[in-house]
């Protein structure tokens, strides 16, 4: 039983969920994820570990409220429980090395990168944290992250992505003031992963992305999360979720994430209608 300790709306569309999960907390490593089943009818969905407390035996998940499963999670109340929580899953990325690490996160990825910032700084590496958000109102955990980041930069939509500004130029500026950056790690929505890693690899920087494809079991059993890197197929759940951005088949990744888009919309409409009827 994984009881809910806390549900907190961090920003308008992002939630923090704290769950009782002593065994997962005991084994968690930065960069790993868990599979969560919201309720008895629920789907198994992967969510990155944003934090954990080994003494209290809890894990923190930050997620975007987007579909039925995340709606259900966001609606949980303390004292209730999720149907299931399994993990930690995926390979923890290798963080040994020299030079600074640029952690670039948007959306749930800001939270998901926090444990990496902590571990990297504890290991003595310089951390440059770049938080991407729609606007300042969508930024969270700034103070928490700053404790483990030598630099904290922000990137808002007006500065990039949709604005026509060249992300590569922006990134080049970051590197100019932090010439020791030897590794870029990106977590967040697919579009951010794609745009940022295109810019970073374009500058010749080694770039790791945390992929978030559709998964079912999360233990390498089903192959739903197939991704292609340099023409070879990998299972993101057990071979990843971290992959070198260079050589990744982005088009395939975008396509496969949308495999059930029609059903997801159908389910969401049904869920919202039912929720509406309950409140009537």
């Amino acid at each position: 039983m994984n009881r809910v300790i806390l549900v907190d709306r961090l920003v308008p569309n992002l939630f923090r969920l704290v769950l009782e999960a002593p065994e997962v907390a005991a084994s968690a490593q930065p960069g790993q994820f868990v599979m969560v089943i919201p309720d008895g009818q629920g789907e198994r969905i992967p969510i990155n570990l944003a934090d954990w407390d080994r003494e209290k035996g809890t894990v923190d998940l930050v997620f975007l409220n987007l579909g039925v499963s995340t709606r259900k999670l966001a609606a949980l109340k303390p004292g209730k429980a999720v149907e299931g929580l399994a993990g930690p899953l995926g390979r923890a990325p290798e963080i040994a090395g020299s030079g600074a690490v640029l952690l670039a996160g948007g959306c749930y990825g800001i939270g998901g990168l926090y444990p990496l910032a902590r571990k990297l700084s504890e290991a003595g590496r310089r951390v440059v944290f770049l938080a991407e958000a729609r606007s300042p109102a969508y930024l969270y955990w700034e103070e928490k992250i700053k404790k483990h980041a030598d630099k904290f930069l922000t990137l808002f939509r007006s500065d990039c992505l949709y604005s026509g500004h060249d992300l590569k130029e922006l990134l080049d500026k970051v590197r100019a003031s932090n010439p020791d950056i030897s590794l870029v790690m990106v977590m967040g929505c697919s579009y951010l992963l794609f745009k940022l890693s295109a810019a970073a690899t374009g500058l010749g920087l080694k770039t790791l992305v945390s992929l978030n494809p559709i998964m079912v079991d999360g233990t390498g059993m089903c192959g739903a999360c197939r991704v292609s890197v340099e023409g070879r197929t990998y299972f993101a759940c057990v071979d990843g979720p971290w992959f070198e951005a260079r050589g990744l088949d982005w088009q395939e990744y975008f396509n496969r994430r949308k495999a059930f888009l029609a059903q997801e919309e159908q389910a969401l409409i049904r869920f919202d209608r039912e929720s509406w009827n309950r409140t009537e």
């Binding site: 993990g87 395939e252 997801e264």
Partner: protein
């Protein structure tokens, strides 16, 4: 060869002792051999094909008492029963059948349970035609074999489900506790059998299951129309009643390592981690939307109840033209699932011919009755997609059978220039699976075979690491439920010896 020669030491004598009991002698005299042989095999009542392709309810409805006793009368109670030797867990088949004939159903179930912890499941999913029923002496007389599987299923269902009394225990698990803790990794048929046997021996057994429901392949792989979930639940309840603890959502190798479990006091391990690594064909277009591993397709439907979407949240692809590649039970399960999910056409493509299909006879028969199309000696060479990356068709190649390969089956040889194209919007790859490497690759020094399978001594199921035993598909690749159970049974015995010795 006389079947009885293949039995384990002591087994033939035990069989004979049972056979010479007075009630058995009396029962044999009740009906002459001629009259017994004149009875036809009782057909299994089934849902009509036209009805069952619209639901996920079990196809076989099961014998009633009358049918079961009539079928039981067909068993000649012969002196050298080939059936027992053909059974991987050596159930005393004549005795349980004769108890049915005598109407002593509880004794019958007790007899089965002596060697088989999951009779309701084995009666449904075992390939009886190549095991017990193959060596039935009626076959030698030119008759259909006794429907041993149907009878096994009947006894288990009759007592565990219909009477609603649940399984009864002939001993109290608390009475002879042993202090040693044992970890069983994986709650499939191998793990559950090992756990049940070890619990009967008094050990404290914990089964660790990575998924949120126990049963392994019985839960995620085998569809409800072959194995209703209340049957599985009833068998799992029986194992829990023996004192076995099942921890779900616990991935040994991630949630805790094997060393963590050693530190937590576990003294011996059974690795029943299954064949959870799906094989793909490595042909162009395999990552298109609409191409699934059988594991994913069946897990979405069975474990996640996707066939009840949107009531359940997990979606499943709904196809118009479904193609399943492979010729085993998994392929039959997948193609019949596609049909039930509304496919206008559901087709099997198998690279060998009908004779080489590894699927159970009954599954093939059911599939054909349901209108599944079989294409033999064909194999896909590439999948075709549209600009959104969605599967639209596939290119197939015809094959001919050549010389036997290492498996003893004729090797399929491509016929040049025989390529042709078909339109499909769902392709399920069911060409086999290999052992899930998640845990076994983490154990330094564990000896693995060339397919990544755990190497064991098949007498004891011991791996090369002391205290670590393994069985089922983790050892065999994609095999059967009953072989996994046989492994679990032998491992339990050897683990008991290991712990008693050390």
């Amino acid at each position: 060869m006389n079947g009885i020669d293949r039995l384990e030491p002591g087994q033939a004598e035990r069989l004979l002792r049972e056979r010479e009991k007075d009630w058995r002698k009396a029962l044999r005299r009740e009906l002459s051999v001629q009259k017994r042989m004149a009875i036809d095999r009782q057909p299994m009542p089934e849902q009509e094909p036209g009805v069952r392709i619209r639901n996920f309810k079990e196809v076989n409805l099961g014998y009633n008492l009358e049918l079961a006793r009539e079928e039981a009368r067909r068993c000649l109670d012969c002196g050298s029963p080939g059936c027992v030797a053909g059974c991987p867990v050596a159930i005393d088949i004549p005795t349980f059948i004769k108890y049915i004939e005598a109407g002593e159903l509880e004794r019958s179930l007790e007899k089965i349970r002596e060697t088989n912890g999951l009779p309701a499941i084995c009666g449904r999913v075992c390939p009886q035609e190549v095991q017990c029923e193959k060596d039935c002496n009626l076959v030698r007389a030119g008759k259909a074999p006794v429907a041993i599987g149907h009878l096994e299923r009947f006894v288990a269902d009759y007592l565990c489900l219909r009477e609603g009394t649940g399984p009864r225990l002939s001993f109290s698990p608390e009475s002879f506790r042993r202090p040693e803790k044992i970890a069983v990794v994986g709650s499939g048929p191998g793990g559950l059998t090992a756990a049940a046997d070890l619990a009967r021996l008094g050990y404290q057994v914990t089964v660790f299951e990575a998924l949120h429901l126990p049963g392994g392949v019985l839960a995620y792989g085998i569809p409800e129309f072959r194995l209703p979930r209340e049957i599985l639940q009833s068998e799992i309840n029986f194992i829990k009643a023996l004192g076995v603890e099942i921890k779900t959502n616990f991935i040994v190798g991630r949630t805790a390592s094997l060393e963590d479990l050693v530190r937590a006091g576990y003294r011996a391990f059974f690795l029943g981690t299954g064949a959870g690594l799906p094989a793909f064909m490595n042909i162009p277009g395999e990552n298109l939307l609409g191409v699934y591993s059988a594991n994913e397709y069946l897990t979405r439907v069975n474990l996640m109840k996707g066939f009840r979407f949107p009531e359940f949240d997990t979606p499943v692809p709904r196809a118009r033209k479904a193609a399943v590649i492979g010729g085993g039970n998994v392929a039959m399960d997948a193609v019949r699932t596609a049909l039930r999910l509304g496919a206008e056409q559901a087709t099997v493509y198998y690279r060998r011919s009908r004779a080489e299909m590894p699927a159970r006879l009954e599954e093939v028969k059911h599939a054909e009755e349901e209108g599944i199309v079989f294409n033999f000696l064909t194999v896909p060479v590439r999948f075709l997609g549209n600009d959104r990356g969605e599967l639209k068709g596939m290119v197939l190649q015809r094959l001919a059978l050549g010389e036997p390969d290492s498996s003893g089956r004729p090797r399929p040889v491509p016929i040049p220039g025989s390529e042709f194209e078909v339109e499909v919007d769902l392709a399920v790859v069911a060409i086999g699976q290999s052992p899930n490497p998640l845990l076994i690759k983490q154990l330094p020094g564990l000896k693995l075979g060339r397919w990544g399978n755990v190497e064991v001594d098949f007498q004891t199921m011991a791996t090369n690491l002391p205290g670590i035993f393994a069985g089922g598909d983790a050892v065999r690749g994609g095999a059967t439920v009953i072989l996994a159970m046989g492994d679990g049974r032998r491992a339990a015995r050897a683990m008991d010896e290991f712990l008693t010795r050390s």
